[in-house]
């Protein structure tokens, strides 16, 4: 073992320049690659959102034709889900898991390298379809046939890039599971793991279970289009609704893939700044696991309007409502953690608090959507758009930003500018609400989603939402500026950057050494 560790300490084999990043097998390097890539994709997907919001600023078509508008909505979703949020969580896992469990690196470093380097190629291919003569995918990110079968030449490229992204996610998930189950420091039993590690372990199983289902669905689309099968075309005896069942059997666990690591981050940050242990650790773990299990039996609530039998509608309504119980437990536990704590409000804490409030609002609208008879009204309107943006932007994205502010001093040894961080928080939070809150109103008033133009009674709230969207986009430039300023500073951060921070990563120096733990720490 000691010979092994001596070998790890040698760092002179490392190539420099670009080759360092292409050949790296180090969890921190790969974590950084994931995070920077995710930031880039966040801006690419964000620009597409701004095209959408610019067109929707007022009724009538001003900038783009409807076909291109549909490409923008489709690509915006694919890029944000697969390019921004998922890689950001994998990046955080790469940086944090080995440090949190007292390991030197991830269990499968070369696989780790591969799972990252698939991404730039997959997204290059996906984005290149926008320059095709027939344009990019325009059938929505859900790729429902028969519409998606009508698409132009982009279709096989989109499917292949989704296959690559799925493969990358599965490799990442295997690595996470192998690392967590095999490389924990002596004494760290499963029920002593930091909660972020727990949420990622469960997320990884969700990834392994759901990604192959997506692969199956899109492969059937491919053969329907090019090899004369009729899985989903009614004219050939196929069933268009079958695709929706398969897609959402992937799609609903995917939703929790996008939020469970965020729960883990918030459950780490709230206790740190409340200077009090996380309330109900065990129930947090059980709640996460039950959300994950329930996610496999609720999929058809995305398709209440396809005309399912009554019994099916009732089943999926009940199971969906049931998710409110473990989710409620989580929110109550966070509030109980704050209760009688000694709170301070640095930027990560502010983002975590906004997460709790705004994610809960998204949860409330989710509960409303679960009620099948009411969903017949909400379905495919801007109410749904408001709902899932509330859980994904002030939900997942806020958690990611909070995590970056929280661990940045550990990663770089440099502390960000707290004043600018707070300005970034307030701008982001105000604009996110200006953008997405009015969408509840226009949705309830009857505005369908995925339309490039709308009836004039929806104008006022759409204008407000568009102003908010541009404000939100600009606020994120401030985030980049803050990162830039931080990285230019000298190393001054303390090993334990936050008074109430708990966990093995804070026992390491800041910045953390290249091979996190040379010798496994003792956990009691």
């Amino acid at each position: 073992m000691s010979a092994n560790i001596d070998h790890l300490k040698e760092e002179h084999h490392q190539p420099s320049g670009l080759m360092r990043w292409i050949t790296t097998t180090n969890h921190k390097d790969i974590g950084s690659l994931y995070l920077w890539f995710s930031l880039l994709m966040f801006f690419v997907g964000g620009l597409m959102a701004l095209v959408i919001r610019a067109e929707l600023f007022q009724p009538g078509l001003q900038f783009v034709v409807p076909g291109f508008f549909n490409q923008m909505t489709t690509m915006h979703a694919l890029i944000m889900i697969f390019g921004a949020v998922m890689p950001a969580f994998v990046g955080l896992a790469n940086w944090q898991l080995p440090m949190m469990i007292g390991a030197p690196d991830m269990a499968l470093p070369r696989l780790n390298n591969w799972s990252f380097w698939i991404l730039p190629f997959a997204f290059t291919m996906l984005l290149s379809t926008l320059f095709f003569e027939s344009g990019g995918p325009a059938a929505g990110w859900t790729l429902y046939p028969p519409l998606s079968l009508q698409g132009g030449n982009s279709m096989p490229f989109v499917i292949f890039s989704l296959h690559l992204l799925g493969a990358s996610s599965i490799l990442g998930a295997i690595n996470v599971i192998a690392t967590i189950l095999n490389m924990r420091a002596p004494g760290m039993t499963l029920m002593k793991m930091p909660i972020f590690v727990w949420t990622w372990l469960i997320t990884a199983f969700l990834l392994i279970a759901s990604m192959p289902v997506l692969a199956g669905a899109i492969t059937m689309l491919l053969t329907d289009r090019f090899y004369g099968t009729s899985f989903f075309t009614a004219a050939g005896g196929g069933d268009p609704v079958l695709f929706q069942h398969i897609f959402w059997f992937f799609g609903h666990p995917e939703v929790y893939i996008l939020i469970l690591p965020a729960f883990g981050i918030v459950s780490t940050i709230i206790p740190a700044f409340s200077r009090k242990k996380l309330f109900g650790y065990d129930s947090m773990v059980y709640a996460t696991a039950s959300i994950a299990l329930l996610s496999f039996i609720v999929w058809a609530h995305h398709m209440f309007t396809v005309g399912m039998p009554l019994a099916g509608e009732i089943f999926f309504m009940f199971t969906t409502m049931l998710i409110a119980v473990p989710t409620g437990v989580k929110v109550f536990n966070w509030v109980a953690t704050m209760w009688k704590g000694s709170m301070t409000f640095e930027t990560p804490m502010l983002f975590a608090l906004a997460f709790i409030i705004l994610f809960t609002i998204g949860g409330f609208s989710g509960l409303m959507l679960a009620i099948t008879p009411a969903d017949f009204q909400y379905h495919d309107t801007y109410f749904v758009v408001a709902h899932f943006h509330y859980v994904l932007v002030p939900g997942a994205v806020f958690a990611i930003i909070a995590a970056v502010y929280y661990w940045l001093p550990k990663w770089t040894g440099k502390m960000y500018n707290e004043t600018l961080g707070k300005i970034h928080f307030w701008m982001t939070t105000i604009f996110v609400n200006i953008t997405f809150f009015p969408m509840h109103f226009v949705g309830l008033a009857g505005m369908p989603r995925r339309i490039p133009d709308y009836a004039v009674q929806f104008t006022d709230f759409n204008m407000i939402a568009s102003v908010g969207a541009f404000g939100f986009g600009l606020s994120q430039l401030l985030f980049v500026y803050i990162l830039f300023l931080t990285l230019r500073q000298p190393v001054t951060a303390a090993d334990k950057s936050w008074e109430g921070a708990e966990g093995l990563e804070w026992t390491l120096p800041s910045p953390a050494p290249y091979h996190s733990f040379d010798t496994p720490p003792k956990v009691d």
Binding site: R275, G307, L310, T337, W339, L367, G446, A455
Partner: protein, 266 residues
């Protein structure tokens, strides 16, 4: 004018104009739409109460349990009693929601004993209406006034177009106080038929026949749109239903029978 009055006026202005801004689901004119509205409001109020309680506790804690006010952290971090209570209470609330929701759902899905049947077929990008018993059949697409105004660079002020994007060439005419069964299918891709004040939406799927029912209680014109992405002109295939008393409906049918295109409907 002092500063305070400016502040008050500026706060009141949005409140008064908000009256014109639709912020909620419209009340329906049929039993199913009304039931959906009632359920929507019920669940909404329940979530508001839960929100006030949870956020209230949270903000109390944020205000009082802060380090700058000298708060010392307590050391408790679990309590089985409390955790059981806040698992059971939400469950009970959910059961309370599920009972009316299930009743409403069963009512909505009961299409028996309808008096007339209309088959609605979705096309890219128009609707076709077939009155099964009354032998009337016609297509309905976006009216020309909207269609011209909606083109990129049309230079037409869409605010001056009557019912921009919500007007059609041939309106669907339905009798009031009649249980109408609507059969939904599509010829090309999936569409969804939705007129919020009359009924919730249902998908029109190639190879499928879905059904829903409406019973319009008040004469009037009700507007809706396709609500399933169906290609480039998805946003431009509205639905207009004109609900008229039964006698007027019978007259309309006799004028438009024998598969004639119902462009004389006005």
């Amino acid at each position: 004018m002092n500063r305070l009055s400016i502040l008050i006026v500026s706060m009141l202005v949005p409140l008064t104009t908000l009256a014109d801004w639709e912020v909620n689901m419209p009340r329906g004119v049929s039993p199913t739409a009304n039931a959906a509205y009632d359920l929507h409001m019920l669940i909404f109020y329940i979530t508001v109460v839960i929100g006030i309680v949870v956020f209230g506790v949270m903000f109390y804690s944020i205000y009082h349990h802060r380090k700058s006010k000298g708060a010392k952290p307590a050391s408790f971090h679990e309590s089985t009693t409390v955790e059981v209570i806040w698992t059971v209470i939400p469950f009970v609330i959910l059961v309370g929601m599920a009972i009316p929701a299930t009743k409403t759902l069963i009512m909505m899905e009961d299409t028996r004993n309808s008096e007339i049947t209309v088959k609605v077929t979705g096309y890219q990008w128009m609707w076709k209406y077939d009155y099964v018993e009354d032998d009337v059949s016609f297509f309905s697409k976006l009216a020309d006034s909207s269609n011209e105004a909606r083109q990129l660079g049309s230079k037409i002020d869409v605010n001056k177009v009557d019912n921009y994007l919500l007007n059609v060439d041939n309106e669907m005419v339905l009798p009031t106080n009649t249980k109408v069964r609507i059969l939904l299918t599509a010829s090309d891709v999936i569409h969804a038929w939705w007129v919020p004040e009359i009924t919730g939406k249902k998908d029109a799927i190639p190879g499928y026949i879905n059904e829903l029912w409406v019973d319009i209680k008040e004469p009037g014109v009700y507007r809706g749109q396709c609500t399933e992405l169906c290609g480039k002109d998805h946003g431009f295939m509205p639905i207009v239903v004109r609900a008229v008393p039964k006698e007027e409906y019978t007259k309309w049918v006799s004028l438009n029978q024998k598969n004639r295109v119902a462009d004389k409907s006005k």
